[in-house]
């Protein structure tokens, strides 16, 4: 026995006499303890399975019930300009050059110049028609059709 400092010899005698008493045996069988431990373990495992099954069932139910509604494509809100907007060719050109590539800018400028000329001088200001690169297919004639059919 440890940490019994300060005990008198009479105390030690009393300790020994008391310690000599035999404890009444408990009526607990080891097999019963092991059986209970196994039952507790099985119950815990079954609860684990039951819990995970419930969670999965709830998730399945939620996925069936809750369907996300397709959202309409978002359009930017149309706004009415409160102040007069400068739509002069220069302003438009300046504004559009940021978003349009250089080829489109050049084409747009050509169009604006032509439009300005037509407004000032009428349709005579339009340039003479130019041949489309690659040319236009010649008109379909009977001979050319026969030739096409025979080639296929």
């Amino acid at each position: 026995m440890q940490n019994t400092d300060g005990l008198t010899p009479m105390d030690r005698e009393l300790e020994a006499a008391l310690g000599g008493l035999r404890i009444a045996p408990a009526a607990i069988s080891r097999d019963g303890v092991i059986f209970d431990a196994g039952r507790a373990s099985a119950r815990r495992r079954s609860r684990l399975w039951q819990g995970s099954s419930c969670i999965l069932a709830l998730l399945l139910l939620a996925s069936v019930v809750w369907r996300p509604t397709p959202t309409a494509p978002q359009r930017p809100a149309e706004t009415v300009a409160q102040h007069p907007v400068d739509i002069s060719p220069a302003a438009l050109s300046a504004a559009s050059t940021q978003a349009i590539d250089s080829e489109q800018v050049r084409a747009f400028r050509r169009y604006l110049r032509m439009r300005q000329a037509v407004l000032e001088r009428g349709v005579d200001a339009l340039p003479a028609s130019t041949e489309i690169p690659g040319g236009i297919d010649p008109p379909l004639t009977r001979e050319s059709l026969d030739e096409l059919l025979s080639s296929t």
Partner: protein
């Protein structure tokens, strides 16, 4: 299944804990409960020990602490139904087996122990029959070592005094 539970601890060790501590644990639990309930609490403690993922560092101290918690919990439930903790000794089954070569009469010892204040009786039960050190007892009951030591000394003095009284005037 059982093999899974016991795989963390050696089966021989488990047997030695059971054989070495079962009766002591029941006696300790009887500090608060009658025998049947005390046995249930001890059985529950062994079941908990076997289902622990890791073996406790100090198994005897762990067992006594678990039994203490279980017994006090059960006592509170019982106390809410019948408040007669003071009269627990009446109708108590014997704590000890009487043998002719005992230096102290078993029945007298039980009666004297039951007259002690509960905190002193607990320390005596843990020290003498639980065979725990005063330091372990302090950890179990949540008191400093000096307090446990003084309780133990006071309990021994009270036991001696009452035993002498009982020799002069038999308790029966």
């Amino acid at each position: 299944m059982i093999e899974d539970m016991i795989e963390t601890m050696d089966a021989g060790q488990l047997s030695s804990w059971y054989d070495g501590h079962c009766d002591r644990l029941v006696l300790y639990a009887r500090n608060w409960l009658p025998k049947e309930s005390a046995q249930d609490v001890v059985q529950g403690a062994f079941v908990r020990l076997m289902t622990q993922k890791a073996t406790p560092d100090d198994v005897p101290a762990w067992l006594f602490r678990t039994v203490r918690n279980g017994a006090i919990t059960r006592l509170r439930r019982r106390a809410s139904r019948s408040r007669r903790h003071a009269g627990l000794s009446a109708g108590q089954l014997p704590w000890f087996e009487s043998r002719p070569d005992d230096l102290i009469d078993a029945r007298t010892a039980q009666e004297v122990l039951l007259t002690l204040p509960p905190e002193q009786r607990e320390v005596v039960l843990l020290r003498i029959w639980g065979q725990l050190s005063l330091k372990q007892i302090g950890e179990i009951v949540g008191s400093p070592l000096t307090t446990v030591h003084s309780r133990y000394k006071a309990a021994l003095a009270a036991i001696r005094e009452r035993m002498e009284q009982s020799c002069r005037t038999p308790m029966d």
